[in-house]
């Protein structure tokens, strides 16, 4: 009897834990059609949605009163221009796909144009054509063909509109970790006399560049990983693995903390690019501290 009740107790506790985990990590994202926590969505969009709702209200009020004033017309125009007016309209799937792709292309061009007015280099990442481009003042400086792209499913599961909002503004770099230095200065003391100066090597010793694994963390939780096409071996492999492990450890700790505190933490969408080593180095060394990146996917 005691064994039976112990069995049911253990099973019930385990089932409860399972339900909790499933709810927070799978059911909630599906139910809300958006795995992104609200905080990740740009505030401007929330304001815009409020405006749309307000304009709809005013529109309804005018219709009720049977009046058509200028304000109502303006409000109507706002709703018309809004891509996501909350009114059920049946559109064909092809039209929606076309519309969405055009909006993404427009967002990319708009972001590129806005960044062209700034004085620093920015990165244009087009995952559809698999090209990473360094640009400045609207002029492409360096194109890198991406040999492989891996996009986490947490991005694929974004609701279409959420994805559009998410990529419509340039991403700003928060921090970067890498196996290579951005600038590697060699410190040298001035020779005391000409004899010592002549002893110095005439031909510079070629510096060894370590294998590349770069992790760039952007605002809006995006994590961009750049790795090299060439296979790493020996010390380089150990260095890369230790960087990968440290990230995994940090993410796991974060997840356990989030689960234990009953708080659904923001998902970190991840994109992994595989590039030739030389391109990866060029990209990383050319990037400014406050890098801005435009994404198309």
């Amino acid at each position: 009897m005691a064994k039976k009740s112990l069995f049911w107790l253990v099973t019930s506790i385990l089932v409860l834990i399972t339900v909790y985990i499933l709810t927070t990590t799978v059911i909630l994202p599906v139910a809300t059609k958006n795995p992104l926590p609200e905080a990740v969505l740009p505030k401007a969009e929330v304001k815009r949605d409020n405006n749309v709702k307000k304009s709809e209200k005013s529109d309804n009020a005018t219709k009720k009163n049977g009046k058509t004033d200028k304000g109502a017309k303006k409000a109507d125009a706002r709703v018309q221009n809004s891509p996501a007016a909350e009114e059920s309209v049946s559109n064909s799937k092809d039209d929606l796909t076309k519309y969405f792709e055009l909006k993404k292309a427009e967002a990319l061009l708009r972001s590129r144009y806005s960044l062209s007015s700034e004085d620093s280099i920015y990165l244009v990442l087009d995952l559809m054509t698999k090209v990473a481009t360094l640009e400045m003042k609207g002029i492409p400086l360096h194109d890198s063909k991406i040999s492989e792209v891996w996009i986490s499913n947490s991005i694929k599961m974004f609701h279409t509109e959420a994805l559009l909002h998410w990529i419509s503004q340039p991403f700003v770099l928060k921090n970067a970790n890498s196996t290579i230095e951005r600038v590697q200065f060699l410190v040298k003391n001035a020779p005391k006399d000409t004899i010592e100066a002549n002893k110095a090597e005439a031909i510079p010793a070629p510096r060894k560049t370590e294998d590349v694994y770069i992790v760039l963390n952007f605002e809006r939780n995006l994590q961009l990983v750049i790795q090299q096409t060439e296979k790493s071996e020996g010390e380089d492999k150990i260095r890369i693995d230790s960087l990968k492990n440290s990230f995994f450890k940090r993410e796991t700790e974060k997840s356990i903390k989030a689960l234990s505190s009953f708080k659904r933490d923001a998902i970190t969408p991840k994109i992994v690019l595989t590039l030739p080593k030389s391109d990866a180095i060029t990209l990383y060394r050319a990037l400014p501290q406050k890098l801005k990146m435009v994404l198309r996917m």
Partner: protein, 225 residues
């Protein structure tokens, strides 16, 4: 025999589910980052099915015209005159005009070194990155050697107007000043081209330098990255 097996099955079967859960739960917890990114997140579950857009055809037309407008604006940003791109990581240059690549080749850029003077002053040798313009073009340039050129050779810098400061050979046949004392110029050490060996300037081979000098006008853009 059969009854013995049945009783054993009855004894252990109920524990199968808790044992599976015991293994499964820690696995989920431990792999939550991976779980968020791959497991169970099947695209088809989440694919949007209803995006409500009013007047979609009009919206598509609007979007198309916006794209054309933005593309034109971006095209307008392309320099009409030839410009040069310098890649400091690979020590290569690309000379371009608005449509074509005119010439590509190797160059030498900054060696990323800090020279510590006897008095403790630190002098970095690095090619600056960003957008520059050609400010002055000189044929048969004479280099006015700065203090570091002497200190690096273990010499005491002479007075500012000393004849020892003037060097007619080092910069090659042409020099294009891009501001802050930095130049695109020739070199005596052609064998070092393609290596990061300079004090910040960009060194070019003789043939490349001649083409660049004749192609780039004063005011031409120089992008260093």
């Amino acid at each position: 025999m059969e009854t013995e097996e049945k009783s054993r099955f009855r004894k252990y079967a109920p524990w199968v589910i808790p044992v599976i859960l015991c293994v499964w739960i820690p696995t989920i917890i431990l792999y939550t980052p991976a779980y968020q990114n791959s497991a169970f997140a099947v695209k088809s579950w989440f694919a949007p099915t209803a995006l409500n857009v009013r007047n979609i055809e009009k919206q598509i037309q609007n979007s198309k015209s916006n794209i054309a407008l933005l593309q034109n604006k971006l095209n307008d940003l392309m320099p009409e005159k030839p410009y040069i791109l310098i890649n400091t990581s690979e020590n290569r240059f690309v000379l371009r005009n608005s449509v074509d690549t005119i010439r590509t080749g190797v160059c030498s850029t900054g060696k990323d070194e800090i020279l510590i003077y006897p008095n403790g002053t630190r002098k970095p040798f690095k090619t600056p990155k960003g957008l520059f313009t050609v400010q002055l073009k000189r044929k048969d340039p004479v280099w006015t050697k700065p203090d570091w050129a002497f200190i690096e050779e273990g010499l005491k810098p002479p007075s500012a107007r000393s004849a020892d400061r003037y060097d007619e050979a080092t910069l090659g046949k042409y020099a294009l000043n891009i501001g802050d004392g930095y130049m695109l110029h020739g070199t005596l050490y052609q064998r070092f081209l393609g290596l990061p060996v300079t004090h910040g300037c960009v060194r070019l081979g003789d043939a490349d330098l001649e083409v660049i000098f004749n192609t780039l006008d004063k005011g031409a853009k120089v992008f260093i990255y």
